[in-house]
Structures are given as structure tokens and as C-alpha cells.
């Protein structure tokens, strides 16, 4: 069962020409956000790469991440890439179910011990293991068990990477990220809600091609895709720099394509590739469609103030606070004032001169 052929061998056995392969490599390098000068290196590495076994675990999730991936991967080119990995277990996609599926997973784990890749979407509930189970196995147990023999883990989506929406206040299920549980394996966080499909495939392609984990940022995200903010690469940036902001979604400024900062755009603090790779096969991305960025690839994006409140609006409730603080200050001031006054009265009674020091002492 274990396929030991290289990717090059698999492709040529399918009758794919060298031209086809080079085209595949050019598209793959572009997908991996690598400069075109890297294409020969990619071709070299890819033809010698061996297909890794992949086990895909779906935990507390909405299937949006899997949708994102399967909807838009074009069946022929990135599809080839998928032919080049061996997706041995994906309980949402595979036909087998229940114990048959679990057998497939265990089989893949045994056969590829130490070398398989685990892809996780969804967060893991720790509040009560019963909140989410597969074939009677709790998510946390399955993750620990599967991760033990893995070479690396790819946490796909903000839920797996940072806890995501299930983790949002008040986090009823005690949801946590993969990295909160697994500490001894390399984890690649491909965040986004959902993540950009081409970024998911790009990361898998990178692992397939070079057999190692790409360079990561401090949140475990591949810098090739998450190295810059949306704002850094946003085509509306010239308007931001000029201070031209749309005030509503349909005013003159909005129609002129002005910056969406005042409408709540979180682009300045969001690291993702949307502004470059865009969505739906490069058609557009939220800001191009007139809506600010939510910050969906950032931890706790759900709890970072309103989606439609400007970034610089404070998230704190300050109305009551200001009132209480003013009262407290007034009370303290009044108390001190009375003390000062009585101090002065006493001083006067003793016919002493009142000095600044007297006041400051009290």
C-alpha cells in the first residue's frame, strides 16, 4: 500500500510531459510565493520528492476550511498536487466511516510512523471532552494520539491555529488551539476564517517540495504568506495616506474606492495574503469588494472590538467609568479640601502663618 515512488515518477506515469511538469512547477512556485527564479529548484526538488502521507483531523469546526480548499482547488493542477500527497484520512471527505475510517487512520499512522503530516481544522474543546468526538474518541485524545508519530502539524484555519470562533468570549466549550495542546512538534499555523485556499495548498506544496517546515512568524504562520499586513499591500493605501476615508458604505468616497479605515477595516494589524493572492482564483478580496478587513487571520479577531468600529476606537466601555472616576476624584478632593481647611483654621487659631508646606503635609 505504501507508495514509495517520487512525485516525478508519479507524474510521468500519468503521461504528463516535461512541459506540463514545468508549468506545474511555475504555478506551484508562484503559489508558494517564491520568486520565478526558484522554479528550477522547485522542479528539481519536486521530481525527487516522495509523497507524504497526510492525516486530516476535523475537530470543532464549521467545515468552511475544508470547503475553502476543495471548492477552489482547480482539479487539474493543484489537483495533481493532491494526487502527490496521500490523503489517508479525512473524515469529512472520505467515504468510509466509523471504525473503518479509524482503521485507515491507524494504519496510516503505523505505516508512516514519524513521517506523516497531520492537518487539523477546528479547535479542541477542553471544557468537556464530550462536546466533540469522532467515533467515540474525544478530540483532544485523537489529536494527542495522532500527533505522537507526526513529522509536523498544519493547523488550518483560525480555529485550529488560535482557537477561532469557538474560543470567542465566553468560550463555552473551553476551546483551545492545537498549539495549546501539542508542544513537541513543529506546528504550521495557516490561519484565516477561512484560510485562503491557495495558501493552504501553498503550504502543503512547500512541505511536499522541500520536506520541511517553512519559515514561520512568531505566531507560527509561514512568513511567505503572513509576512505583511493587508494594509501594507492594500491598493487603497494611497487613499489612507492622503486621509481620504469612506464614511459610509455608499457615500461618494465609497464609490470612489477610498480607504475603509473609518468603516472598521482592521487591515493595518492583520497579517494575511488577501491583498496579493486574492480570493476566488484571484478575482477579488473583501476590501476590493468594498468591505473592510475583519482581521480573520489574527488571534481573538472575534473579540477585538466591533467589525465596523474604526481600529483606533477604544474597545473599553468608558461612559460609566468616566462618571465613577469623576465621583471618586471629587470625593477624594473634597475630603482633602476639608482637611486642608481645618488645618488652616487651626493654624489661624494659633496665629501661625500658613505656609505651602502646611498644606502639602496634610
Amino acid at each position: 500500500m505504501k507508495d514509495t515512488r517520487t512525485v516525478g515518477e508519479i507524474l510521468s506515469s500519468q503521461g504528463i510531459s516535461r512541459r506540463g511538469f514545468l508549468k506545474f512547477c511555475a504555478a506551484t512556485a508562484s503559489m508558494m510565493a517564491m520568486p520565478p527564479s526558484m522554479v528550477p529548484a522547485v522542479a528539481q526538488a519536486l521530481s525527487n520528492a516522495r509523497r507524504p502521507s497526510v492525516i486530516w483531523l476535523s475537530f470543532q469546526e464549521c467545515t468552511g476550511c475544508t470547503e475553502s480548499l476543495t471548492r477552489s482547488h482547480s482539479p487539474t493542477l493543484e489537483g495533481l498536487l493532491f494526487d502527490s500527497i496521500s490523503l489517508d484520512y479525512h473524515h469529512t471527505l472520505q467515504v468510509a466511516a466509523g471504525s473503518a475510517a479509524e482503521e485507515a487512520r491507524e494504519h496510516a499512522m503505523q505505516e508512516n510512523d514519524g513521517s506523516y503530516l497531520v492537518v487539523v481544522d477546528g479547535s479542541i474543546p477542553l471544557g468537556n471532552p464530550g462536546y466533540s468526538t469522532i467515533a467515540g474518541i474525544s478530540n483532544v485524545d485523537m489529536l494527542k494520539e495522532t500527533a505522537a508519530g507526526a513529522a509536523a502539524i498544519v493547523a488550518v484555519g483560525t480555529c485550529a491555529a488560535f482557537g477561532g470562533i469557538p474560543h470567542a468570549n465566553p468560550n463555552p466549550t473551553g476551546a483551545v488551539a492545537v498549539s495549546d495542546i501539542i508542544k513537541d512538534k513543529p506546528i504550521i499555523n495557516v490561519s484565516g476564517c477561512p484560510p485562503i485556499p491557495i495558501v493552504i495548498t501553498g503550504v502543503l506544496a512547500h512541505y511536499l517540495t522541500f520536506g520541511k517546515v517553512p519559515e514561520l512568524d512568531d505566531l507560527g504562520r509561514p512568513t511567505a504568506f503572513f509576512g505583511q499586513t493587508i494594509h501594507d499591500r492594500c491598493y487603497r493605501r494611497p487613499f489612507y495616506d492622503k486621509g481620504l476615508f469612506a464614511e459610509t458604505f455608499d457615500d461618494e468616497g465609497a464609490q470612489q474606492g477610498w480607504c475603509l479605515y473609518k468603516l472598521g477595516c482592521k487591515g493595518p494589524v492583520t497579517y494575511n495574503a488577501c491583498a496579493v493572492s486574492k480570493w476566488n482564483s484571484g478575482t477579488s478580496f473583501p476590501i476590493q469588494s468594498g468591505h473592510g478587513c475583519f482581521g480573520c487571520s489574527e488571534p481573538d479577531f472575534w473579540d477585538s472590538g466591533g467589525f465596523y468600529r474604526p481600529l483606533s476606537a477604544t474597545t473599553a466601555d468608558v461612559g460609566t467609568l468616566a462618571g465613577v472616576a469623576a465621583l471618586a476624584g471629587a470625593a477624594a478632593g473634597a475630603a482633602i479640601g476639608r482637611m486642608n481647611r481645618s488645618h488652616r483654621a487651626r493654624a489661624q487659631a494659633r496665629h501661625e502663618k500658613l505656609t505651602i508646606d502646611d498644606i502639602e503635609e496634610s
Binding site: G20, L22, Q256
Partner: protein, 150 residues
């Protein structure tokens, strides 16, 4: 662009994109980059490839760049894992290469500054395969002929 039926009934006012967006300034830098690359090509034969998918484009900007580059004398289609269109632009030595998959979705967009894009050349591996095939064909034909003679 065609609008699906039914939407016609809804009073939607559309505003044209034309001129609404600022030149975000990708066109000039790209033209400059191309000019430098052409100079290198002319002087030392060094090739350059620019990945258009790696550049954050404003709506309509890619079209504008292509328009600026214009059309040259050569255009070719490669049929490998879906069609790829290779075109020389109005500037000799500057080519556009667009890769599509079999669903006709674009999967790669490049500007190549070169005498001829590599992909147009027959590849050594494919030539080897071709040689083997032609030998096979010959052998088949010859054995048929000798069979006929016998």
C-alpha cells in the same frame, strides 16, 4: 459582462470603475523593471521573469499594464495540462505567459524578458520520450513491411 435575468428588474445603479481608482503606481515600477531587464538581456543575455500574481493589483490594473505592453508579432498556445498562452508584446524580448488549467482557470501569470520563453522550447526529457516513440513507430512500421514482404 452579462447580468443574470431577474436582476434587470431590480433598480441597481452601477458605477463604472473607469477612472475611479487611482493608479496605485504598479504600472510605472513594472515598466521600469522591464526596461532594466531588457537592458540586461541585451547586454549579457540574462533572462528575467516577473510573477504578476505576486503583485498586489488594484482593480483593472493588470489590464492596464497589458494594454501598455501591447501586442507583438508572435503568439502561441501550449497545450499541456490545460492551455498556456505565450505572446510577445509590442516590445521585442518582452513576453507574457499565462497558464491555465484544463478548467480554463488562470493558474500562473508571468512577464518574461527573454529571447524566447523556455516553455516554447521542446524539452530534453520530452525529446527523449519522442525519440523512443519514433523508434517504436519505425520498428512497428518496418516489422509490418517485412511481414508484408514475407
Amino acid at each position: 459582462m452579462s447580468t443574470p435575468d431577474g436582476l434587470h428588474d431590480i433598480a441597481i445603479e452601477t458605477h463604472s470603475d473607469a477612472g475611479a481608482y487611482p493608479a496605485t503606481g504598479n504600472d510605472l515600477p513594472i515598466l521600469h523593471e522591464i526596461r532594466h531587464a531588457l537592458q540586461r538581456l541585451a547586454q549579457s543575455g540574462e533572462k528575467t521573469v516577473i510573477d504578476l500574481q505576486a503583485i498586489p493589483m488594484a482593480p483593472g490594473e493588470e489590464e492596464r499594464i497589458l494594454q501598455l505592453l501591447g501586442r507583438g508579432e508572435v503568439s502561441a498556445t501550449i497545450d499541456a495540462l490545460g492551455p498556456s498562452e505565450v505572446r510577445e508584446t509590442a516590445f521585442a524580448g518582452v513576453w507574457t505567459v499565462y497558464h491555465r488549467n484544463t478548467n480554463n482557470e488562470v493558474v500562473g501569470k508571468f512577464i518574461e524578458i527573454t529571447h524566447c520563453p523556455d516553455l516554447l522550447h521542446s524539452q530534453p526529457e520530452d525529446i527523449a520520450t519522442g525519440m523512443a516513440q519514433i523508434r517504436e513507430t519505425l520498428a512497428e512500421l518496418e516489422s509490418k513491411q517485412s511481414g508484408d514482404q514475407a
